[in-house]
Symmetry: C2
Subunit: 383 residues, 2 copies
């Protein structure tokens, strides 16, 4: 059901021919009300794609009625012409649905630096508008996939209201958002002053802590639509908890499907002087290609953990740091700990615990290994 | 001839059994005077290896008579016992050569987090001391290799004096030094107050601008020994020019031999507001795995160049930036430029020129592609 699990939402996914494979590539999500409160978080990349530039304007009013998404082309780095294409797309959706263009957010994903085939996209929008259905969530989730191997969806049921969501993303997962498009819907009654901070908290604790390959996309977009159709008004805390759960569920699905990965790696930095220190140290590990290739090779190479955090300014003393990999403390006090032979890395899940002994804060960064398949998939992506 | 090209230096390289392959693994370089002026630059990693900690003390006096280097073990993250091993090594060299331990710098390379087999190392040092020869430079260069496929050496002949050098390194090439050991020698008369700044300039313009995989090692060491045996005193500018040439020659050899690489990529950022901005933007490209895999796949994916520099704080306007790959301006004004089909990436050398149009400064960062062989080599390294 995904984005159509909450009451008052319909969705569709169709094949417009943007993808050479013929797979579905245009998704539409419509909020039928009564409310149209919305919030969004976008990429911080300084080359935001045309749909990001457009949708920022839409969301500035904290209202949104519909989201149109396409795979098969990112419409990024396409200049004023690309922005005009996005504007045309929003206008066409608005016409089909009897809305104003400013009610329609746009999101795109695919190759950077190519114009979209607007004739196909426009025809696809028309088809999607006709196909809108309260059961269309699954079709929409499928239509936003690029190199994803499975659609990613979530439903959080609460007392009389719910949150639904869909996501795409399978690489370029990095902080300040993974390369991903996420649409979340809720039939709870949520005022804008609750929705925006709830979304910030949810993304900060979930997708912003997934750092698959350190690459920040031009198109990242997370939108949440709240229509109040349930008539139930949860507290801000209740709503935020559910939104964090939905975003975390999607983030873990993104991680599990990262391009060519063979490991899901949770790097927890404990006893840091600050959460920022813990995140900095964790990210340094998540971005260290030598560590990531070692884990691909089932090698508990803790020296590469130390070499990575040794490049940061996090507070710690070099002769105090412990490293535990899958339960074995292979490094104690910055030196040799228990035998590395005791570490079993044959499964998909890997935990790396770094104890900085510098304070009382902790944070976890999730990443993947660097595999031969990652290189293969990303070297062949546009060719 | 390498480090023994200048007068007054002898060297040796022997197989002590530290490497399971039986290849040479202990190198010794002796400065026979008359002067013993020295300077060094070390890793900025906060987990400096035991030999780095030791050699910092040696070089604090700006003097050094001998350098002993081993491959087959980094002696990093080995605690007080590892430091004692380094100290013992220096003392043994000093005994063999009639020096004080404080005259002997130590450098190690290999796997982190393993103690060195001191019985083998000590015996190797004795053998190396006996083998010291004015023709021993090539043997020494071979004994410091790890995953290097070829030894790296340089000789810069000037008017009556020269600089020789050797280097090892084939991965973990990152700023603030590549993972590498470099020994440079000169028979010029160079006072300490000229030698240290000349070395800083030389490393800043060469090895610190090579960023193969963004990983900073625990063992990086660059040492220069000056003995004045030629009796010639070049000006500071003359000497610095020659030292920059020697270090750059070695840096380009390191780049060409980076683990599993198939491309040498020069990323030049032009018209930046500052050299720092140019370096920041260049490094962001050099560390972007998606760009590096695209180049491995001969794909001129300029969108990934923009996505990379879009994560930096370098001064530029998004709609002003041009990107030229191997001579084809595939991106103009942050948007689509000349057809990417015109770019020939089949050779090993790739140039990426980014024009920020934000000032008058420029800098070049050198990096490699991210290949299947890189992943293979680094995932299997310690197993």
């Amino acid at each position: 059901m995904t984005v159509t699990a909450p009451r008052g939402f319909s969705a569709a996914g169709v094949a417009a021919g943007l993808k050479s494979s013929g797979d579905p590539d245009v998704a539409l999500v419509l909020n039928t009300g009564p409310d149209d409160v919305a919030a969004a978080v976008f990429t911080t990349n300084r080359f935001p794609a045309a749909p990001v530039q457009w949708s920022r304007q839409v969301l500035a009013g904290q209202r949104c009625r519909a989201v149109v998404l396409n795979s098969g082309g990112a419409n990024a780095c396409t200049g004023p012409e690309g922005f005009a294409d996005t504007h045309t797309t929003a206008e066409h959706v608005a016409e089909e649905l009897g809305l104003g263009a400013i009610d329609v957010a746009v999101a795109s994903t695919g190759l950077i630096g190519m114009r979209l085939p607007m004739d196909k996209l426009t025809a696809g929008v028309t088809e999607a508008a006709q196909a809108l259905s309260a059961d269309g969530g699954a079709d929409a989730a499928r239509a936003i996939m690029t190199t994803d191997s499975v659609p990613k969806t979530t439903v959080q049921q609460r007392d009389g209201w719910s949150i639904g969501g869909m996501a795409k993303g399978a690489g370029m997962l990095a902080p300040s958002l993974a390369t991903m498009l996420v649409v979340l819907t809720t039939d709870a009654v949520v005022p804008a002053e609750v929705l925006q901070p709830a979304l910030k908290t949810a993304t900060r604790l979930s997708v912003e802590r997934v750092d698959s390959d350190g690459c920040l996309s031009t198109n990242d977009t997370v939108i949440v639509l709240a229509n109040g159709a349930s008539g139930v008004t949860p507290t801000a805390a209740e709503f935020t908890e559910a939104l964090v759960a939905a975003a975390t569920d999607l983030a873990m699905q993104l991680l599990a499907d990262a391009e060519g990965s063979t490991k899901d790696i949770a790097i927890t930095v404990r006893n840091a002087a600050s959460v920022d220190d813990a995140l900095t140290a964790g990210r340094a590990c998540a971005r260290n290609n030598l560590l990531k290739t070692a884990l691909f090779g089932n090698d508990p190479n803790w020296g590469r953990v130390l070499a990575a955090i040794g490049t940061t300014d996090a507070a710690f003393e070099a002769d105090q740091v412990d490293v535990t990999i899958n339960g074995v403390t292979v490094c104690r006090g910055g030196s040799i700990g228990d035998p590395r032979e005791g570490v079993d890395l044959t499964g998909r899940a890997i935990t790396i615990d770094v104890d900085l002994k510098a304070g009382g804060e902790e944070a976890t960064i999730w990443t993947n290994d660097l595999s031969i398949a990652y290189v293969h998939e990303n070297s062949a992506y546009s060719t």
